[in-house]
């Protein structure tokens, strides 16, 4: 019914239109949108393809400023050595109060975060000394720092070069 009514209305309007404006027979201005849509689609495709949505993130690192003069003395019982071999095996060893350290303990990468949280749960003054092998992959360094940042602990770490003694410890522990 509504459709029919509508139809009647338009025809009536059309009649009136014809009578009052005999020259203006055109039914309004029709703009063909097709070229515009084409262009817009092209632009859209261009922007979709050129956009880099995954913006790189940055990880802040602060190296200790101090030179040799103002070295900080750290109690060995608060030290955690994290040694990583060239093959990427991670060994933790906790320092002891008498200046020695516990034998290295192999930690699988997936357990680094939980193990760190355990250690910090027991002693929140722990200072991590990171001794990475020069042959290790750079991406592993980033991953380990990432795990340290993810662990719910205060970030206290410093990078130290791997010396012959450290290499020996790692070698004896399985390389």
């Amino acid at each position: 019914m509504a459709g029919m009514g509508g139809g009647e209305d338009t025809s009536a309007q059309g009649d009136r239109f014809k009578k009052s404006y005999s020259k203006g027979k055109k039914p309004g201005v029709r703009i063909d949108m097709t070229p515009m849509v084409d262009v817009i689609l092209l632009l859209l495709t261009f922007f979709i393809l050129t956009t880099v949505l995954a913006q790189p993130q940055v990880m802040q690192i602060n190296l200790p400023k101090g030179d040799e003069k103002d070295k900080v003395k750290v109690d060995m019982s608060n030290v955690l050595y994290i040694r990583v071999s060239g093959e990427g095996n991670i060994y933790f060893s906790l320092g002891k109060a008498d200046g020695t350290e516990n034998p290295p303990e192999f930690v699988a990468f997936n357990n680094v975060k939980t193990r760190l949280e355990q250690i910090y749960g027991a002693n929140d003054q722990t200072l991590m000394l990171l001794k990475f092998s020069r042959d290790m992959k750079y991406s592993l360094m980033v991953s380990i720092i990432d795990e340290i940042n993810r662990a719910n602990i205060e970030r206290r770490y410093t990078f130290m070069p791997m010396e012959d003694m450290d290499k020996e410890i790692v070698r004896l522990a399985g390389g």
């Binding site: 949108m33 097709t34 515009m36 849509v37 817009i40 689609l41 632009l43 859209l44 922007f47 979709i48 050129t50 956009t51 880099v52 949505l53 995954a54 913006q55 790189p56 993130q57 940055v58 990880m59 802040q60 690192i61 602060n62 190296l63 200790p64 400023k65 990475f132 092998s133 020069r134 042959d135 290790m136 992959k137 750079y138 991406s139 592993l140 360094m141 980033v142 991953s143 720092i145 990432d146 940042n149 993810r150 990078f159 070069p161």
Partner: protein, 191 residues
Amino acid sequence: MKKPKAAKKPGVNIDMTPLVDVILLLLTFFMLTATFKAAESEGVEVSLPESINVDTTKLPEIDVMTITLSPTGDIFLDVDNYLVREEVFGDKFAIGVWHPDSTSKSEIIETGKVGDVVLRRKPVLLDKDQFERTMNELRVALRNMTDGKSDFRIVVKGDRDGKYGAMEDLMAALKNSGNTRFALVTEIKHD
């Protein structure tokens, strides 16, 4: 007789307006979020390592000193301000290259390539002392140009297949030259 009459309808008219609306919205979104990689500012391409850390910050957009570690252990020193490059290196498109002696062979010195790509920037070879000095010269040059208003922020882009040895040498150089604050660029990885 009736069939041809029924076919007289003037085709099917699809209203394009909602489609155009949506496409325009999408277009606006992509235009506003797009960030372009300037081929010239990107000296050396590396595949970044991934990290899942949640509180990482975004890469700064201007006044960036980019130190790139190639997979073979070459260290590239670049800044995003060509005037500074021209002042320090004497060439708008120059890029500093340092290859620590302790790491393996240098790709750029031997083949002039980084990976499979020929470096289009003019390499300026530096040794360790020159590298440390140049970093500070670049920073001083920018400070002088901007009346001390801006300073470079150091970002390190390492290749995920590179070795830590080059990074260790780089960190020693950064520490020696007093540039103890820097950032490692990573790609975000979702758990």
